[in-house]
């Protein structure tokens, strides 16, 4: 099988890889780069557990082919912490009890991060609408919405 050379940034580090043309970004992150925070749960873009941020946009990494991110900048949940300090969203998810089984948490955090990066003061309605791209089976979403509101307050 022919492979392709792909260069992109992951969590501010440059990586160059030879990948199969049909390899998904989720596979690349999990299998080659050992970034296991993004989870595989449906492989059809229905659930959002594999969400990562590519050039500021939250994408389902199970639906993105790695050759497509050539030259792009990818942020995964592992890249949220800065200088050993948790991101306000990570703190708020913990403090508000927005984490139960944790399987959706990485994807939920990345969707919320992309929202806060483009809209510093989202309304409750905007938060609810945005995180409706991701499924959580445990929490009923209430504490997740509260956590995003709290993080938005703290970020300002």
């Amino acid at each position: 099988m022919k492979t392709m050379k792909v260069t992109f940034r992951v969590n501010d580090e440059k990586v160059t890889l030879q990948v199969r043309p049909y390899e998904t970004l989720l596979e690349t992150l999990r299998e080659r780069l050992d970034l296991i925070g993004a989870k595989e749960a449906c492989v059809m873009g229905a659930c959002g557990t594999c969400t990562v941020v590519v050039n500021g946009i939250p994408l389902r990494s199970c639906l993105v082919l790695t050759p497509e991110v050539d030259g792009a900048s990818v942020t995964t949940v592992e890249g949220l912490k800065k200088d050993e300090k948790l991101h306000p969203l990570q703190e708020a998810f913990m403090e508000k009890g927005a984490v139960q089984c944790g399987f959706c948490t990485s994807g939920m955090l990345m969707t919320a991060k992309a929202l806060l990066d483009r809209n510093k003061r989202p309304t409750k309605k905007e938060i609810t609408k945005t995180i409706s791209s991701n499924i959580c089976r445990c929490t009923g979403y209430k504490k997740i919405v509260e956590a995003v509101e709290e993080a938005a307050k703290k970020s300002i």
Partner: protein, 759 residues
């Protein structure tokens, strides 16, 4: 009283959440071991067919394939939770009984090779007539799925208390209705995965599970490996909801492949495989007949409930019983007859579910509202009249100890203005209430109790060892919080080792709602025993009486003269000097009637205690489309005492999603043994935008035996939120529902029935 504790009752950050927000928490599919192989499973394309021949030879020749197996590589031992339900071969050799059943498997160096090898496995089948409807399956002449079970009746639970027929005859009002409901999908976010590693005669396994000890025992039996050589290891679980309580075919497959290949094997199921081949939820039909006095007192209940059991027994006797018990633990029935039939069909295996029994539970509650209305009463009055209270005995002889049912009904109805809204319904708006009780643990033989081991380390930190399991609900954090309170050290000083069969002792697991009342109770007793030793040394060293010693923030001090103090770590070191380090064990065994059996002796004390809860849903119906929305939902739960109120609320809120909102949208769809919606695009689970505004009310009845008075933390809402929604829709439409979920077509149908239009 509220201020007497340092951490108990506080909204503490869960101990497991840091690893989960940084992406560092490991789940089974994240495991990589040196030389690990990838497994894939070949599944049955037929709902019912004889297996004539399985040929693995060509698959084994594919380069990179290290092992291939079928049922002919097993000992042919069938699994069953009970002696009388051993009917599940896990890998069959005689015939397949549902589409998606595990038939053969391979382990190869990578996924592509494994998939290629699967395509070379040849299985010759002889298709057999199949049966998909439980009522048809019970008829004479229907295809027989198991030879041992005549008419496909897997389980018949028969309960008969008092004189039902006589009481019905003398009742002022009698009503009989039949309710149907589709089974839901567990849809836990983590698809099932298992890693097995067989080395030096020891088998190590990782998988999301609710009870590692039960799993190890099952695999020890199936593989004929001594129990101490099967070690289920701790790993995070991406949700269970009742679906990961017992051994799974994948566990046997990964183990056999690892034994054959001589290396570790990972089997990670796809979303669709997870839906069709792991446990599913029972579809059901519930006939509910109720007799009442003129004043609304229930005098008799008569039930016939048919559960579509799928191909194998699974937790059948429990599943056939639980909906009845959570109802009889809530209301007073002097005369009751229950005939629960679990029937085999050619569909996937069905197990317990956190919201199990919605046709029965919502049916009972909605029917009660209609009868109350006829008698000039409202839902609140009729529930308060018939609800059990502390000290009463249920129909099948369980004593209720602490009971906050009345308070949950009153608080939720006051908060919502229930009575007013119910009586003066605005057009196309409705309000409904559902109540239920929940056993905190049930008889599971010697696994009904739990024990814990605690040691104080030389830096004053603590190591806790317990069989307690966390499937995401926060049980690990609960154990740490309780230990922190008793030992006077912060939560971050406590290291937890749990759910690892090599080192932890027996525990019921995250099953039967026993974690708080049983598992955490054992943790508390162990820590109290360790505390006693600390206090004894501290009292000597500080020259005060033991009763005067307080342990708080890593310090032992005198209550009377707080400056007279010493670090707990010094006490621990002193204990080492004395050659008597601070270690302790503790256990808890609930007071249950162990003669009780689900089928042969369905009476006696079910559990050490019961929790109670009330849900109130407010709905709006779109008159054009029939679509229901739920703008507000209020839930009140009596958890004895909330150890971490934030975690209890989280359980209640999740229950409103999984049981409440599911009532208008969730249900598996079948066509001749095919599951039509096995993925998350076709099977819609509620999203953030589908959720109501939620209000949770925690009621604290202070259980005399629970740890710090606690009982299970939220499951009643999972078992009554569907009732609240169904009752609210009935209130809005003026008719009883016939079938769940309440999809727009069914709601329109109900509206037209009310108008007298025939469809």
């Amino acid at each position: 009283m509220e201020n007497e504790f340092t951490t108990v009752g506080k909204r503490v950050v869960r101990s497991d959440s840091l690893a989960k927000v940084t992406g560092e928490a490991y789940y089974t599919a994240d495991i990589k071991l040196p030389g690990m192989l990838i497994a894939k499973v070949l599944r049955s394309p037929y709902p019912h067919a004889k297996i004539l021949h399985i040929d693995l030879k060509r698959a084994l020749k594919v380069p990179g394939v290290k092992a291939a197996i079928s049922g002919f590589d097993t000992y042919g031992i069938k699994w069953g939770v009970f002696r009388y339900t051993k009917d599940h071969p896990m890998l069959p050799t005689d015939k397949v009984r549902y589409i998606g059943e595990d038939v053969a498997a391979v382990a190869a160096v990578d996924e592509e090779t494994a998939l290629e090898a699967l395509s070379y496995i040849r299985v010759d089948y002889e298709p057999l007539p199949a049966v998909f409807d439980p009522e048809e399956a019970m008829q004479e002449g229907a295809p027989q799925i198991h030879n041992e079970f005549a008419n496909n009746i897997n389980i018949h639970v028969h309960i008969d208390v008092g004189k039902v027929d006589e009481a019905m005859k003398n009742a002022f009002l009698v009503r009989e209705d039949t309710f149907k409901a589709a089974g839901e999908a567990y849809a836990m976010m983590e698809p099932y995965a298992v890693v097995a590693s067989h080395k030096n005669g020891f088998l190590d396994l990782w998988m999301p599970n609710a009870g590692p000890h039960v799993r190890a025992k099952a695999l020890s039996n199936l593989l004929k490996i001594p129990l101490n050589r099967v070690r289920i290891r701790h790993i995070n679980s991406g949700g269970a909801f009742g679906g990961r309580s017992e051994v799974s075919p994948g566990d046997l497959i990964a183990s056999l492949l690892s034994i054959k290949a001589g290396g570790p094997v990972k089997l990670a199921l796809s979303r669709e495989e997870n839906a069709i081949s792991t446990r599913q939820v029972h579809d059901m039909i519930a006939m509910v007949k109720t007799g009442m006095k003129k004043d609304g007192t229930i005098v008799a209940k008569d039930y016939r409930v048919v559960y579509d059991g799928g191909a194998y027994s699974s937790t059948g006797p429990i599943a056939t019983s639980v909906p009845f018990y959570v109802y009889e633990e809530c209301y007073r029935f002097p005369n009751v007859r229950y005939n629960g039939y679990r029937v085999f069909t050619n569909k996937g295996i069905r197990g317990m579910y956190g919201c199990h029994g919605r046709a029965f539970l919502a049916g009972n509650e909605a029917q009660m509202d209609f009868m109350a209305n006829e008698l000039g009463m409202d839902p609140v009055e009729i529930r308060l009249k018939n609800g059990l209270t502390s000290g009463e005995i249920t129909a099948t002889k369980s004593k209720i100890t602490s009971c906050g049912l009345k308070e949950t009904i009153q608080k939720s109805s006051e908060r919502t203005g229930f009575k007013k809204k119910w009586a003066k319904t605005q057009k196309f708006k409705g309000i409904g209430m559902g109540c239920v009780a929940m056993m905190c643990g049930f008889p599971m033989g010697f696994r009904s109790g739990s024990s814990c081991y605690v040691k104080m380390n030389d830096d004053g930190q603590v190591t806790l060892v317990t069989g307690l399991v966390d499937n995401g609900q926060g049980n690990e954090s609960l154990a740490i919080q309780i230990a922190s309170e008793v030992l006077g050290v912060p939560m971050e000083d406590i290291n937890l080792i749990n759910a690892d069969t090599e080192v932890t002792n027996l525990d019921p697991g995250a099953y039967s709602q026993a974690a708080t009342f049983v598992g955490a109770n054992a943790v508390k007793v162990a820590c109290e025993n360790a505390r006693r030793k600390i206090v004894s040394i501290a009292a000597q060293k500080l020259g005060v009486r033991e009763a005067d010693i307080v342990l708080k923030n890593r310090v032992a001090y005198s209550k009377k003269t707080p400056d007279n103090k010493m670090p707990i770590s010094w006490v621990v070191r002193e204990a080492f000097f004395r050659g008597d380090p601070i270690v302790a064990t503790g256990s808890f065994f609930p007071k249950i009637d162990f003669e009780r059996e689900w089928v042969s002796r369905p009476w006696g004390q079910m559990a050490g205690t019961f929790s109670f809860g009330t849900s109130v849903a407010e709905v709006v119906i779109d008159r054009e489309t029939g679509k229901v929305t739920i703008p507000h939902f209020t839930a009140a739960h009596d958890c004895g005492r909330p150890i971490n109120p934030m975690a209890v609320e989280g359980q209640m809120e999740g229950s409103i999603q999984q049981a409440g909102v599911a009532t208008i949208m969730e249900g598996n769809l079948w066509e001749r043994g095919f599951l039509l919606n096995p993925d998350l695009l076709e099977y819609k689970v509620p999203l953030a935008c589908d959720m109501p505004d939620i209000e949770t009310i925690i009621v604290s009845s202070r259980d005399p035996e629970g740890p710090f008075g606690a009982k299970e933390g939220g499951l009643t809402i999972r078992m009554n939120a569907h009732s609240a929604v169904a009752c609210a829709v009935a209130n809005a439409t003026g008719t009883l529902f016939r079938e769940l979920p309440l999809t727009p077509d069914r709601v329109l149908d109900a509206l037209e029935r009310k108008k007298g239009i025939k469809r």
